[in-house]
């Protein structure tokens, strides 16, 4: 099974964080990446939502607006695409992502088309 682990947290927390703490958290992500290297297919951090553009097509007309899809207290800040035996293994992995301590990780199974 493949799961997408979506990391949601208050992006202001990161920008307001003193540098030693930022380094500490980065080290946590490096450690996570190393521990689950065999299971991680992809993983990226995202630029803050101030850089987001939301695109919709309505009646054939393209509409681009500034900002994320929805204004929320916690924002999508990054993701991992991982292999796991089942949901329990995916949840165990999600719990080890440093962002889980301050924010939340949404675990979504990847759809397969046969």
């Amino acid at each position: 099974m493949q799961y997408l682990l979506l990391i949601y947290e208050d992006e202001k927390r990161w920008s307001n964080m003193p540098q030693p703490e930022q380094e500490n958290e980065m080290a946590g992500y490096l450690a996570f990446g190393k521990e689950f290297a065999a299971s991680i297919n992809a993983g990226k951090a995202l630029q803050p939502t101030t850089t987001a553009t939301t695109v919709r097509v309505r009646n054939g007309k393209r509409l681009s607006t500034d900002g994320p899809f929805a204004e929320t207290k916690e924002q999508l800040g990054g993701f991992y695409l991982v292999d796991a035996r089942d949901l329990d293994e995916a949840i165990a992995m999600a719990a080890k992502i440093p962002g889980a301590k301050a924010g939340s990780i949404e675990v979504r199974p990847i759809m397969t088309f046969s």
Partner: protein, 411 residues
């Protein structure tokens, strides 16, 4: 001979758990088992085979295979089931021994109570799959339309399949936490049957029986003793044992202090008390065990005024240490008012004003203390507050009666 109805009730969860294991899918297993029971009605013609459980299991497996053969889009599952059936050690075609149908209910209960499912879905799925209640019965018990309940079950099973919620007993490290969640689900089932005074009372009484059955089953399935499981079972036995005294002829709730104690089920209460005593010997008690101990003390008193309130207050104090909630503290204060008098309890109740001012039982407790202290004017006002906040008709009738008694005596 056991009737098919009885087999359905007693063996549904066992058979379904084994079929899910082999077929790898809740819906396929459920449909197949439904088919097998329907076939039994026709084919047994009143005379069950020597091993009815084995017959139902074999028939359900064959039906599932037939069904999957007809639906090529289930190609993957077809292969899986064909492989499972070709493995002779796992499932011989003719079963002579009832033990040959493996019991996978422990896996089933952990999957149904998986935290990735909503609490509502956990309860519904547990009742449908483990207890064998029909969707209509579960819907009626929870006072929702059958279509709503059916949709809730479909969604839960869909999530189990799509997100790969495992069909497995959690590993030792996760077991305590997951077991605590299973106990919560069983307690929710019980409370749904016990606490509410509305709805189809027959079905609701059945929910209490199902919760007790689940707890007993879990005790058999788990190899090691689990003190809180025993505590929960004792708590349910002790509450359910008072059922007959809890409602009057009109169907109104009767308060514990006013119940006809000769109507209590002493056999069930004694089983509960014995269980509490043995659980208390296992080590420091958890919340369920403490609540069961409180219920046990109540059940021991032949009359309400013979209740050992000092012990009850002490038990609430221990419960508060584990679970510091203002409602527990309110109960402790009420117990103390009987053990040492209302004057001592009133300041404790007053101190809870901030968290509990919106809770009718806080006002009712305070009113009762004021009444017993002969502060009638304040008592009437407090009963009025409680009356305005109470949501239950039976409770309102009681409060109105009290208000009249106290107010009338003052005039």
């Amino acid at each position: 001979m056991t009737s098919i109805d009885e087999l359905y009730r007693v063996e549904w969860g066992h058979l379904l758990s084994a079929l899910i294991r082999v077929l790898g899918d809740f819906d396929v297993a459920e449909d197949a088992l439904q088919d097998a029971f329907a076939a039994a009605v026709v084919e047994w013609n009143g005379a069950a085979p020597r091993n009815p459980v084995g017959w139902l299991y074999s028939t359900a497996r064959h039906r599932a295979l037939d069904r999957l053969r007809r639906h090529t889009r289930f190609e993957e599952k077809r292969i899986a089931i064909a492989e499972a059936m070709a493995t002779p050690s796992r499932a011989p075609d003719v079963l002579d021994d009832e033990d040959a149908v493996p019991d996978e209910r422990l896996r089933l209960i952990f999957t149904c109570c998986h935290p990735a499912l909503s609490a509502e879905a956990q309860v519904a799925l547990t009742l449908r799959t483990l207890c064998g209640l029909t969707t209509e019965e579960v819907a009626r018990a929870f006072l929702v339309p059958t279509a709503t309940m059916a949709q809730r079950l479909v969604r839960a099973k869909g999530k189990i399949r799509a997100a790969a919620v495992p069909y497995r007993v959690p590993e030792a490290g996760d077991l305590p936490e997951r077991l605590a969640e299973v106990l919560q689900v069983i307690y929710l089932v019980f409370n749904e049957g016990y606490a509410a005074s509305t709805g189809d009372t027959l079905v609701r009484g059945e929910l209490c029986a199902e919760a007790i059955r689940l707890a007993r089953l879990l005790r058999v399935l788990l190899r090691d003793p689990e003190p809180e499981l025993d505590g929960l079972l004792a708590l349910m036995l002790l509450h359910d044992g008072r059922r007959a005294g809890r409602v009057d002829e009109r169907g109104d709730l009767v308060r514990l202090s006013e119940q006809d104690r000769t109507r209590w089920d002493q056999v069930q209460l004694e089983e509960g008390r014995t269980l509490v005593r043995s659980t208390l010997r296992l080590g420091p008690p958890g919340p369920f065990t403490l609540e069961a101990a409180i219920a046990a003390v109540h059940s021991e008193a032949e009359r309400a005024d013979a209740t050992d309130w000092t012990q009850i207050a002490a038990l609430y104090e221990r419960l508060y240490a584990l679970h510091p909630s203002p409602v527990v503290e309110l109960n402790r204060a009420a117990a103390l008012s009987f053990a040492r008098g209302p004057a001592e309890a009133l300041p404790l109740v007053d101190a809870l004003a901030e968290p509990l001012a919106g809770f009718h039982l806080w006002h009712a407790t305070r009113a009762d203390l004021l009444r017993r202290l002969d502060r009638r004017g304040e008592a009437v006002a407090e009963y009025g507050e409680a009356y305005a906040l109470a949501g239950n008709d039976a409770e309102r009738r009681f409060l109105a009666r009290r208000m009249e008694e106290v107010g009338g005596a003052g005039n």
